[in-house]
Amino acid sequence: MERVKVTLAVNGREVEAWVTPNQPLSEVLRTDAGQTDVKYGCGEGVCGTCTVLLDGDPVNSCLVFAVQADGAQVTTLRGLLEADGTLGALQQSFLEHGGSQCGFCTPGMVLTAHWYVGGHPDADRDELRAALAGNFCRCTGYGKILDAVEAYAQEAAGGG
């Protein structure tokens, strides 16, 4: 199986990788791009922890072959950090509300919530719950995650 060159813009940084066509994007992000903030969970598109934004859309990076993403912009959790490396507002809200316990679901949770609130600034708690329905957490019981996302959404809406 020949290797193929893939170029990705990962959190604004250009990454070149020589991949085999059967390598999932999640793996190439973790190994070639060093983005260990991308977690690999179920491997079949159900759990949501491997979520990244591909050209702005949330996708399962475990179900996209890296070759399919050639030329794409990828945002991982670390892409939400502020320019000075401090936590972004939603990440800070997760911290303040106890929205993360073991932390394994957190990257997918935060990215999905960030993407959804960006397009639905007036979302209420039920809508936020529905938006996050595809991201599984086995620790928190979801309440504190929703608290974190709701507080962030209210602040984002209120603060314009």
Partner: protein, 295 residues
């Protein structure tokens, strides 16, 4: 999980994709969103030697052309959900698209891929049959148009030839006085359906049903058109007659084996969800609020 090794090629057009797949022979497969094929490959249930990526083969903008909603095969489920034209032309289509998987699956998965994959528990095949949609294809023998009702043969089996690709889905827009709705039973949001129903109801000026269609999915190996079984709706007020019609549909429907419930339970659920779909379709035919099927 790791897919078996394969060669990968990107197709810049449908014609190029057809050619590449023909050259690749039996072990060549097309991939678009890959939300069904990639998991099957990861689980080694599918091991294509050549994967032809059609994701960039054509635009994916959904358009209304006179009386038809023209949905490119590459339109994603999320595109359907967000398409005002789709909600206007045949609301059950975006309504069903919104039930698929999770938000990540809906941003990769395509209508063409879902129909070609022909999972009997998938949402869009059921709606395509109820809508009397047609798929336009391009294959080694050229272009053709296939009614959705003639597309689905059995589990994961369609009447498409090897290397014949769906390029568009043509959905006839509802006419004046018609409404449609999709309703499904799932164990958890995003799961494949345990039972599902798609209804189209036409009301006359007096609010009586002049025509109705009903398709039930997830119970057998393909979507089942049970329109004949609900003939008694005609001339009746939907609220008065939907329950009996749904029961007649449930009695008529073929129920295959399933791990998700007994035949008796699923037949009962067909009655429940067929009634909800019929009533929601009737409400929409009257111009009432959208998205009320769960009421």
């Amino acid at each position: 999980m790791y897919a078996s090794p394969f060669e990968y090629a990107r197709a810049g057009s449908w014609a190029e994709a057809v050619e590449r797949i023909a050259d690749g022979g039996e072990d060549a497969r097309a991939i678009a969103g890959g939300q069904s094929l990639a998991p099957m490959m990861m689980l080694r249930m599918s091991e294509p030697a050549l994967l032809v990526d059609v994701g960039g083969a054509a635009p994916r903008a959904i358009e209304r052309r006179n009386g038809t909603l023209l949905v490119p095969a590459l339109a994603r489920h999320a595109d359907l959900e967000a398409s005002a034209e789709a909600w206007k032309a045949f609301a059950a289509l975006p309504e069903a698209a919104a039930c698929i998987g999770n938000v990540r699956v809906r941003h990769r998965g395509t209508i063409g891929g879902s129909l070609a994959h022909a999972d009997p528990s998938a949402e869009l095949p059921c709606v395509a049959v109820a809508a009397r949609a047609h798929v336009r294809t391009l294959g080694p023998s050229g272009e053709r148009t296939v009614p959705a009702a003639e597309l689905f043969v059995s589990h994961f089996t369609t009447t498409l030839e090897h290397g014949e690709l769906i390029t568009h889905v043509e959905v006839p827009a509802l006419r004046e006085g018609e409404g449609c709705a999709f309703a499904e039973l799932v164990r958890r949001p995003g799961d494949f359906a345990t039972v599902e129903a798609c209804a189209v109801v036409q009301l006359d000026a007096g609010g009586r049903c002049s025509e109705a269609r009903l398709v039930v999915g997830a119970t057998a190996d393909r979507p089942l058109d049970v329109t004949e079984a609900i003939g008694a709706l005609r001339g009746e007020e939907p609220e008065a007659a939907a329950e009996a019609a749904a029961r007649a549909a449930a009695a008529a429907v073929e129920i295959g084996p399933s791990a998700h419930g007994s035949e008796e339970y699923r037949r009962e659920m067909v009655a429940v969800f067929a009634r909800r779909a019929l009533l929601a379709a009737a409400a929409r035919a009257r111009g009432e609020e959208d998205g009320t099927w769960s009421a």
